[in-house]
Symmetry: C2
Subunit: 411 residues, 2 copies
């Protein structure tokens, strides 16, 4: 019971339990106990980058049944700023979302959004995409920022390799990501213990307000990297696990590599992760990819796909994605998906949605985003049920037959 011992050492109760397991695969049904509630897994987390799930209200995201959403430290650090969020009573209170929040550390955004960035061992300096001002993200200020926002799950700062990347470079980035994870963990421990709880770190970019305590309930997840090299992925996972965290993320996938290798990379990463801790595959959200990862024992997902595609007029259905901007949709009297019970499908026809998109009306973006998030809820609920009934592999097969085949027929 090595991991239990370590949990005790870290003064942290386990946040995760496996409730049931599929027999034919590594898929598991579990629950995640966080400060703002219990989250059923597998779980898909809608992305609320800038403290809003784009076009939707918190009421809507709640009523769809979501128990956790994702926000982004990089974006919130720049706007409205961590000081303001802390003074507002934390991110939950600021955006009026009372369920769980996971924040990405900002590492991925610095690498993908900021063109003027410089990585040193201390951290990453970058120019803001908002106003060009220069900032420094360090493992320490990223940990502190997320605790000051009071989020339920914080992510360590990582260095995300591009695709393609050489093995040597992937190894260097993996090593740095491991060192940074250790520093994030140490900083969070220090803040939590109150030893250095009221002073700033990380080049003075973040200075903790003396009057406001950091969150004591924030849980820190590290990120397994290793590019597209299975041996590195495994090593990254093993060395990360040695540090003992309450949960583990797998990063650096869905960054342009061939889809076929996703399963292999997930497997190499997950194989070295402890069974009794939650596993989170970052940025993955295509239904077919979620199925590959659930099959290999992944519990948590996030992706902009349902909302971004919704804003582009692409609706998710059991028969595959459909484009409501095409000509066929102009005179279609029925709902997007007759099997769907979301408020969009209950009230509005495809031809009306098609009109809203053609006329450039915001309501169209809302209604299809909402439908897509409702689809993801249904999809994940079906996954959970199939695991409980130990028929996940069969569910996956049937889903893909309908989802992928219908899509190809239509294309």
């Amino acid at each position: 019971m090595l991991s239990n011992q370590k949990s005790t050492i870290n003064h942290q109760k386990s946040i995760y339990s496996v409730l049931s397991k599929d027999n034919g695969s590594c898929a598991r049904r579990g629950e995640l106990r966080l400060a703002h509630g219990t989250v059923q897994t597998p779980v898909f987390m809608p992305v609320g980058t800038q403290a809003t799930v784009k076009t939707l209200s918190c009421e809507e995201v709640e009523s769809l049944g979501y128990e956790i959403i994702l926000a982004n430290t990089y974006h919130l650090f720049l706007r409205p700023g961590i000081d303001l969020l802390e003074a507002a009573g934390g991110l939950h209170r600021f955006m009026s979302w009372n369920r769980c929040i996971l924040t990405d550390s900002g590492g991925y955004q610095v690498f993908s959004l900021s063109n003027r960035r410089q990585v040193k061992e201390e951290g990453v300096t970058f120019a803001s995409h908002v106003d060009g001002t220069r900032h420094l993200l360090t493992p320490e200020n990223v940990a502190a920022s997320q605790m000051r926002m009071g989020v339920d799950i914080a992510m360590c700062l990582d260095e995300c390799p591009p695709y393609p990347v050489s093995e040597a470079m992937a190894r260097d980035m993996m090593d740095r990501t491991l060192r940074w994870a250790k520093r994030c963990q140490a900083e969070m421990g220090r803040l939590r213990d109150g030893e250095k709880g009221r002073r700033g770190e990380g080049g003075g970019v973040v200075s903790l307000s003396p009057s406001l305590p950091v969150s004591l309930s924030t849980r820190l997840f590290p990120i397994v990297q290793g590019g597209t090299y299975p041996a590195l992925r495994k090593e990254s996972a093993q060395r990360t696990v040695e540090m003992d965290f309450p949960g583990y993320a797998v990063g650096g996938l869905s960054v342009g590599e061939p889809r076929e290798i996703l399963g292999e990379m997930v497997e190499a990463s997950v194989s070295a992760l402890p069974f009794e801790k939650p596993r989170y595959l970052m940025g993955v959200g295509k239904p077919q990819d979620i199925l590959e990862a659930v099959e290999r024992g992944v519990d948590m997902f996030d992706c902009v796909l349902p909302t971004r595609n919704g804003r582009n007029g692409q609706a998710l259905t059991w028969d595959g994605p459909r484009n409501i901007r095409n000509n066929q949709s102009r005179q279609e009297d029925g709902p997007l998906d007759s099997a769907c019970s979301c408020s969009t499908c209950q009230r509005y026809s495809v031809q009306y949605l098609s009109h809203l998109f053609r006329a450039g009306e915001f309501l169209g973006l809302r209604l299809v985003s909402l439908h897509n998030l409702a689809f993801m809820v249904d999809f994940i609920n079906q996954i959970r049920k199939s695991i409980e009934e130990s028929r996940f592999v069969e569910f996956k097969k049937r889903f893909l037959e309908r989802y992928i085949d219908s899509k190809e027929q239509r294309a």
Copy 2:
């Protein structure tokens, strides 16, 4: 009982009743009985130009308590087209709004949006702002289009003078508007009686589908014009009333003329309208202007102001409009208006709304548009109550003291 006789001749029941009258002014509380429900007056109608009240769902507009909205024949004629709307079962079914709809005829839009237009006695030819194609609006096809959409209140095609305009030109336009009103009325009568119900008029632009009946419940309102000339306004009203319609609109105001003359123009127009018919002041929606017009006996209003200003970050409050994009709003923890019970004010802070606007997030547009329409409901409800209690003039005075004075203090 002249008007009752005429109603009988026209086979139309009266659609309007005055329920109570203010003693100190011409303000009246009434109700409007239309095919899709009863509408309490005075009433403010949110504008849903393209079959959507911008950014808001029908559920939201309903739950705010609105009983009637406005849509636009010009825009819907171009996109999605009257044939499609008719095939969809009418505008109500198309947009899933089951309460009342009034459509503007499109006259104003042709004059203000279309740069290549040509007015002849037959009608107006214009180039579509969507795709440049040329179209013809005639009194006949405008009437037919609105009946085919199945709206509750249709407007006659009118010629809206610009500001400033010479008296001679204002008279010419008034005369044409009167001739066109007669043609609209005649066409609607013909369609209603079924005598020529299944054939097209107006240059072949509209061809009625043989299989689909036009609405028998659409009520037609003519538009009083006359520019800024009180004598013309009065003459326009008198000659329009001679044709006997179920209600009357006053148009051509709020087009750039000095605000001070609004009251005079409304008074000149309304003075010649029958007491027992509803009066609609088109395009007017500033609270202070609504008060001027209600005082003179106007019952119905529409304006893009609450939603357009909402999308620009201007919120309506009892202390005057406020700009949530200003610096002060960035750290304001409370709601937009502590007296407001709308879902925006119940849940979201000014600083969050401010963040949404700064970050370019759609949700901000929604939340402030919704608040502004909630404000208009509260405002109109207070007007109704003050009329019922015969203290409208006092209400108006108190409202303006707070609304205008606070605004000036803040500016």
